[in-house]
């Protein structure tokens, strides 16, 4: 039903947890399906040096959050801020049309975390 990339992230999720002393945290919930992603990031000199997630939800939500942490680690805050859900979907191979919102939730978590980081910097 899901791509092998999605399944792979379910079997081996990357960067699970909470960053210690994070620069920003994005904790977002989809009010329709109750899926939730909490992304915490560490920013150092404008670079995302660390990203971790915790999540509740269906496989695409978990996989999107997991992929996101890989995609943003090492990037500049500027680059990360420009990321879109398609960046996540392309790494996951594909998502069923009804599951595109899962990738969007990950982007929302990223935006919220970046907002928090800007405030603290």
């Amino acid at each position: 039903m899901y791509s092998k990339e999605v399944n792979e992230h379910i079997a081996n999720p990357r960067n699970v947890g909470d960053v210690e002393n994070p620069s920003g945290v994005g904790d977002v919930t989809n009010q329709v399906c109750l899926d939730r992603i909490r992304l915490s990031i560490k920013v150092d000199n404008g670079i995302l040096t660390e990203a971790k997630f915790k999540a509740n939800g269906c496989p695409p939500t978990m996989a999107a959050a997991s992929v996101l942490t890989e995609l943003i680690t090492g990037r500049s805050v500027k680059e990360a801020a420009l990321m879109e859900r398609t960046d996540i979907v392309s790494v996951l191979g594909r998502l069923p049309p009804a599951k595109m919102h899962c990738a969007m939730l990950a982007i929302d978590a990223l935006q919220a975390a970046l907002k928090g980081a800007r405030r603290t910097v």
């Binding site: 039903m1 379910i10 999720p13 699970v16 399906c33 915790k54 496989p59 009804a98 599951k99």
Partner: protein, 389 residues
């Protein structure tokens, strides 16, 4: 290890069933309607299978109609009754937790001017006989209530419904019929059409270790029924089309085995199911049993796990070789959660964390032990990932 715990979806075909079917894909290729010897051998196989299926449900052979499966059986029962009796009434009673084959057929009839009462169920999934009585109207022509629910396994008091029907008939409701979808109960618990008092009963072969694409509708002698399909005079003029002899023979063999082994299968399956349930509830916190533990088929356990999504749990278990199903919203792309769990009045979080384990007599103790330990590990991992902690 691969562990198949989704037997309410479909069951593995028994080796004896496969063996029984094979000749009918080969030399025994006759059309049961043909007069020559090929045809007559096919006819004999057809009628022998019919007796086996009839025996399983306590019917007489002439009261069984072979068709493509549970869905067609439900459609024929409901549409057939509606068509043949619409002049006397256009009201149908069913429940909110029926299989889509029943619900969608009723909805289609609503668009054609029928009125349908969808009875609510208790938190454990049982109907209230008082509700059946209250819903009855002068123009009610059909009550359709499943014997056992496919998601939670709750068994309905069909015999008591039949008593209500009998009373109503005595009071003059001679066009009132009782149908039961017994796809999930046949082969799991004793099912006898005369003891139950039903006029129509749906059975499917692939839920009892038979092949897919074949089922049967029991039609009590003398019942008038419209048709879904038009053609030849097969199946006592109730369902046209050249009989699917290999599948019917397989169905017959599966029914014979289910009949002979009913008690043994029920006992061993129930023992494994209860063991699974007991060990999960002991080892995992926040587990909820959905359905009615005191009125349940022996092979289904529907559990809800706190703080996890059923589909994520399903996929994670599948990657470890364990096949189960879920009533969680997201499964199969539909964003609607299970209508059955919704009808029980369960909160959204409970529905989303639901998982159905459905066993068969083919499951073994080592399989169940593996399933338990894998589930416990997987839950721990998902709960570690949970943002709610």
């Amino acid at each position: 290890m691969k562990v198949y715990l989704d037997n309410s979806a479909t069951t593995p075909v028994a080796p004896e069933v496969i063996e029984a079917m094979l000749p009918y894909f080969g030399d025994e290729m006759g059309n049961a309607q043909s007069v020559h010897s090929f045809g007559q051998r096919a006819k004999a196989a057809l009628e022998s299978a019919r007796r086996q299926v009839a025996k399983l449900i306590g019917a007489s052979a002439t009261e069984t109609v072979f068709l493509s499966g549970g869905t067609e059986a439900d459609n024929l029962a409901i549409r057939g009754t509606a068509e043949a009796h619409r002049e006397w009434g256009r009201h149908i009673i069913t429940t909110q937790i029926e299989h889509p084959a029943v619900l969608a057929t009723c909805e289609a009839l609503e668009r054609e001017g029928f009125r349908v009462t969808y009875l609510p169920v208790s938190g454990r999934g049982r109907i209230d006989i008082g509700d059946v009585r209250a819903a009855l109207r002068e123009d009610t022509i059909l009550i359709s209530i499943m014997q056992a629910n496919n998601e939670i396994g709750t068994v309905q008091p069909i015999r008591e419904v039949a008593e209500v029907v009998a009373e109503a008939r005595q009071a003059g409701a001679k066009h009132l019929h009782l149908h039961s979808d017994a796809v999930q109960s046949v082969g799991k618990i004793p099912v006898n059409v005369s003891e139950l008092g039903v006029d129509l009963l749906s059975v499917s072969a692939h839920k009892i270790h038979g092949p897919k694409g074949i089922g049967c509708l029991y039609v009590r002698k003398g019942i008038r029924l419209g048709k879904l399909l038009y053609g030849g005079h097969h199946e006592r003029d109730r369902r046209p089309g050249t009989e699917n002899i290999p599948a019917i023979v397989g169905f017959g063999r599966a029914a014979q085995m289910a009949c002979e082994q009913l008690e043994d299968r029920a006992r061993s399956t129930e023992k494994l199911r209860d063991y699974l349930e007991r060990h999960i509830t002991e080892r995992v916190e926040g587990v909820r049993i959905n359905g009615d533990p005191s009125n349940r088929v022996p092979n289904i356990s529907n559990l809800s796990f706190e703080g996890v999504d059923g589909e994520s749990l399903l996929i994670a278990l599948d990657l470890k070789g364990i096949a189960v199903s879920t009533g969680s919203a997201c499964a199969s792309g539909s964003l609607e959660p299970s209508h059955v769990l919704k009808a029980l009045g369960l909160p959204r979080e409970v529905i989303r964390g639901s998982l159905r384990f459905s066993l068969s007599a083919f499951n073994t103790q080592p399989e169940i032990d593996f399933a338990i330990s894998t589930l416990v590990e997987t839950l721990a991992r998902l709960q570690e990932m949970s943002a709610e902690g």
